[in-house]
């Protein structure tokens, strides 16, 4: 067993380029463009995109909406961190979405202390989208910032997330999400690495090519006109992803505010992690290929070439990369037999090297995260987390494709699922 790694390295050293390409087709096709495109884009960004000093939105009225379900514990910390902002919000509206804990009492207390301007507590849970819509309907600001209850903010987060709105073409902005509980468990550490690469670096790259894929519900900002035009969030889970499609469709720019940092807790146990990812991935497939399926149809009046690229990227890299991995695995096993582990480990080492580069670059771009404490976990991330996540993703896509499982998940209440158009 312990011979495998040196053997793999020998194998890599001895192989010819042609052989290597044949072997690492999946890496060459999938991973190199993904990561290297990102690298190049970010490099271009930092070299060519000069930092224009933008207005700090002094004339803006910033409303923050915080939805929560049974967040008695977390909500106060979140609200307090909002008042710690260098640019404090002009109003905070909190919605307790049918909480059964003492969250309504907590909100009354916060309101009496003047820490929140409005608190709404429904008796029945309606899902996050409905809670957000209720809150947004009560705001007065020209910029509406959505913050998750369990998040806490960096001191300049609010100032930085409203900065992009100085550009009148920008309809929405999304903040940079970092993991607060990276030390809680191995899976949390791996998610911290993933967030750093996919959000801090990935969105920065996507921003350059106007390709932000999701205005994260943890920390997103909208111009009021955008919200009003879109009618708010739509029913169902992953409502943040869904609204992103509609923002782009409305021809509004979405900016990634890399210096608007928010910290969140990620799942620390495998079952919770799996549930979260199932939900995300199922909704992603549902929205992208069903609800917004016209994006793939060149004959649709709403067809848009850029969106096609987005969707192709998703199908090719996310779905294809997820499910294709298993075909590749079967192929390697059948072709190499006993030698397969060596090949696979070789591939994974190669990927590890790529990922480490991406990770280091992300770390350099994001000085707020101490990468030295995460770096030792890169092998675990690459060898355990990535394949595991890929498996979860594949299963999620199959579940959704075959069973429409996004209609039965627990993110939204059943009454909402029954009323959502079944696609």
């Amino acid at each position: 067993m312990f011979q495998l790694v040196p053997e793999s390295l020998n194998f890599l050293a001895a192989a010819t380029w042609r052989n290597l390409f044949a072997l690492f087709v999946i890496v060459v096709v999938y991973d190199i463009p993904r990561y290297y495109l990102g690298f190049i884009a970010v490099a271009l960004l930092s070299i060519f995109k000069s930092k224009k000093p933008l207005a700090h939105g002094r004339g803006d009225f910033v409303s923050v909406v915080i939805p929560g379900h049974n967040e008695e514990e977390a909500v106060e910390r979140c609200v307090l961190s909002l008042w710690e902002q260098s640019r404090p919000p002009d109003e905070i509206v909190v919605v307790s979405d049918g909480s059964t804990d003492r969250m309504p009492d907590k909100l009354r207390d916060l309101q009496e202390r003047g820490l929140i301007q409005e608190a709404h507590c429904t008796q029945l849970r309606g899902g996050k989208a409905a809670a957000l819509n209720l809150g947004i309907g009560r705001t007065k600001g020209n910029i509406i910032v959505v913050v998750d209850c369990d998040c806490t903010l960096d001191r300049h987060a609010l100032r930085n997330i409203i900065e992009p709105f100085a550009d009148p073409g920008v309809g929405a902005a999304v903040g940079n999400i970092m993991v607060r509980n990276a030390k809680a468990s191995l899976i949390a550490t791996c998610q911290a690495i993933e967030y750093l690469i996919c959000i801090s670096l990935g969105k920065r790259a996507a921003d350059v090519i106007d390709g932000i894929s999701c205005i994260s519900g943890a920390f997103g900002a909208f111009r009021r006109e955008t919200m009003e035009r879109l009618g708010g969030y739509d029913a169902g889970g992953s409502e943040d992803l869904e609204i992103t499609f509609r923002v782009r469709e409305a021809d509004l720019k979405i900016r990634f505010a890399s210096n608007a940092i928010i910290y969140t807790d990620v799942p620390t146990t495998v079952p919770v992690f799996i549930r979260q990812r199932f939900s995300w991935d199922q909704y992603t497939l549902n929205y992208r290929n069903r609800k917004h399926g016209y994006l793939l149809n060149p004959l649709s009046p709403r067809f848009n070439f850029i969106e096609l690229l987005h969707t192709l990227d998703f199908l090719l890299f996310s779905v294809g990369g997820g499910i294709g991995f298993w075909f590749y695995l079967v192929w390697v096993l059948s072709a190499y037999g006993d030698f397969a582990p060596v090949v696979l480990i070789g591939i994974q080492l190669w990927i590890l090297a790529l990922e480490s580069c991406a990770f280091l670059l992300a770390g350099i771009m994001t000085p707020e995260v101490r990468i030295s404490s995460l770096l030792p976990y890169m092998p675990a991330y690459s060898f355990l987390y990535q394949p595991f996540m890929r498996s979860v993703r594949s299963i999620a896509y199959i579940r959704e494709w075959v069973f429409h499982s996004s209609y039965t998940d627990r993110v939204a209440p059943r009454k909402v699922h029954s009323a959502r158009p079944y696609l």
């Binding site: 309504p104 008796q123 029945l124 309606g126 899902g127 029913a235 909402v416």
Partner: protein
């Protein structure tokens, strides 16, 4: 008894030479008594046994007072009075006083209106002694009273008020002071003055006309009146009166008699220190003792404090005094209720209401939320209303099927004034007295207690200040902190061996309750600590300051209690320096002899 009256008389500022008094009385014994009493008070007395003679004397000489027995030979008192009034022609008349054994019979006889006063027989020395004060006062206060004025407004006899116009009390032999006749005027009646000077014959104060509690302050300002039960004939005093006659049945009269008897009995046992005290707190103890019931509050919406205690004194005053007495262990208290207090005017008459947390308007409308499942729109029902239909404002779909298409997850309270919405209203208060607005945060609270005499309080009521003096001096060793006991032992040893005197100062905080109520327990504790710290700094090496539970202590070496007492003020000032609140600190000094 006569000597006692004379003694009182000496103390009074009489006009030089006193007054000229005419006494017409057919009983030589009474004549002698009157002569003795009045001349001992410095008055000149001419006495007659015959009516005609008396009339002649009145025509000839100028008298200040004329005491006329109602049944005189040859000419009745009524006839004398009528004649003299008729012949006055602007001349200044003496004060005419009738003496009779049959006051009630007199009331029905003609000519009564000519008298200024009526004294019933058997003669009461108290009354007589005080009687002479009245013309004195009358002259001092209204020297210009002329005959004409008197004729226009004849002085109203005060006696008719005494027989109570109520069947309950008639013929039972009870004596009453009456509001407003005895107590309500600018000047107190003779009878009231008698009662104040300790005449034990009165049984109660009768309230014959509607009166406010504040107007009855006179009962508490003067001595000994507080020990009389207050009988309310009008039903306006409510729980402040001891007896509301308007709520009694005829059959209850026996009870009233027993009440009067019991109260009279206990009044007799009340120590004279307390009966004649000027201290309001001591009066409270006296009253609680005499009435033989605790001082209990009752709701009284007409009062600013929303309660009356069962006495004719403002509740705030009662509470303040009674709390101070609790500190001294004379009363013990029991929680009754907690009120919110207007931060501006201190009234507790607050209107409680639900209001907008933002603009404080009570004009709130309750509006249900609607949640359209399909498009996730959630908002107030009014946004969905299109006549009779419900139409989603976001996706324009008509909502038909409750629980499948939409539901009502909650309600929103919308303020009609400012549009602010919340899921729960705030609670606010409006002061009914000053219209100030307050909310739970700005309102302080005030606790109301009922009070009852402790054993020590009863002892004080029965034995007076001497009882208290002993009781108070006693130090409670059981309350000493261990640190103090050690220090005291060392000091005592030092005293025994080297005769170094020492003083233990007991530091009391009489304002503790008040300060805690206003500023909170923490602020008080901080101030107390700071006081001790300052005191420590002031004493330096000369003494040790030790914190106790309810009291604190300072042990000073090298000086005895008497020396230390002279330093009390400077010590208190040093401790109080830099403090925001006046702790009202009281010191008690104890020397070695107290620890024998």
């Amino acid at each position: 008894m006569v000597a006692a009256v004379a003694k009182t008389g000496e103390a009074k500022p009489h006009a030089a030479g006193g007054y000229r008094v005419l006494v017409a009385e057919n009983s030589p014994v009474i004549q002698d008594v009157l002569k003795l009493v009045l001349s001992r008070r410095g008055h000149r007395v001419d006495s007659f046994t015959d009516g005609q003679e008396a009339l002649e004397a009145l025509r000839k000489n100028r008298y200040d007072i004329a005491l006329l027995d109602y049944h005189l030979p040859s000419l009745s008192a009524a006839e004398i009075a009528a004649t003299i009034q008729a012949e006055a022609h602007g001349r200044e008349l003496p004060v005419l006083v009738a003496i009779t054994a049959d006051a009630e019979g007199l009331l029905t006889s003609p000519g009564l209106e000519n008298f200024d006063q009526i004294i019933p027989k058997p003669l009461d020395i108290f009354k007589l002694g005080n009687l002479v004060d009245q013309p004195l006062k009358k002259r001092r206060h209204a020297p210009e009273v002329t005959e004409a004025a008197v004729e226009r407004e004849p002085v109203k006899p005060s006696v008719p008020a005494a027989p109570v116009p109520l069947s309950f009390f008639e013929g039972k032999g009870y004596q009453f002071l009456t509001w407003p006749d005895d107590l309500g005027g600018e000047r107190l009646s003779q009878r009231a003055l008698d009662a104040i000077s300790g005449d034990p014959s009165f049984d109660a104060i009768l309230i014959a006309q509607p009166v406010s509690i504040d107007a009855l302050g006179i009962v508490w300002q003067r001595k000994s009146l507080f020990a009389l039960p207050v009988i309310d004939l009008t039903g306006t005093l409510g729980p402040a009166a001891d007896l509301d006659v308007s709520k009694l049945n005829v059959g209850d009269s026996g009870q009233i008699g027993r009440l009067f008897d019991e109260v009279r009995d206990r009044r007799a046992r009340l120590n004279r220190d307390v009966l004649f005290t000027d201290d309001l707190g001591e009066k409270l103890i006296g009253r609680a003792y005499v009435m033989h019931k605790p001082i209990v509050p009752a709701y009284a919406p007409s009062s600013r404090e929303l309660i009356f205690y069962n006495m004719t004194l403002r509740a705030g005053l009662v509470a303040r005094e009674a709390d101070a007495l609790c500190e001294q262990d004379l009363l013990e208290r029991k929680f009754f209720d907690r009120f919110n207090v207007c931060p501006r005017c201190d009234s507790v008459r607050l209107h409680v209401r639900e209001e907008c947390s933002k603009c404080r308007s009570p004009d709130l409308a309750e509006e249900p939320y609607l949640h359209h499942f399909k498009c996730a729109f959630q908002g107030p029902e009014s946004q969905f209303r299109r006549g009779n239909d419900l139409v989603c404002p976001k996706c324009k779909q008509e909502l038909r099927h409750f629980s499948v298409e939409y539901d009502r997850p909650g309600t929103m309270l919308v303020c009609n004034e400012c549009g602010h919405a919340a899921s729960e209203p705030s609670v606010g208060f409006v002061c009914l007295d000053c219209a100030a607005h307050a909310d739970a945060e700005t309102c302080t609270t005030r606790d109301v207690y009922s009070y009852q005499l402790t054993l020590q309080g009863t002892g004080f009521a029965e034995y007076g200040r001497s009882f208290l003096g002993q009781g108070r001096q006693a130090l409670r060793f059981s309350e000493f902190p261990i640190e103090l006991i050690v220090a005291l032992n060392a000091a005592a040893k030092d005293f025994n061996e080297r005769k170094t005197p020492f003083t233990l100062i007991n530091i009391l905080y009489p304002n503790e309750r008040e300060l805690t109520a206003i500023h909170g327990a923490r602020q008080f504790a901080l101030s107390r600590d700071l006081f001790l710290e300052n005191l420590r700094g002031r004493l330096g090496g000369a003494g040790t300051v030790i914190k106790g539970l309810s009291y604190d202590f300072a042990l000073l070496k090298g000086s005895g209690p008497d020396e230390v007492r002279n330093e009390f003020k400077s010590l208190k000032d040093a401790g109080q320096r830099t403090l925001r609140f006046d702790l009202g600190v009281r010191f008690q000094a104890f020397g070695h002899q107290d620890f024998l």
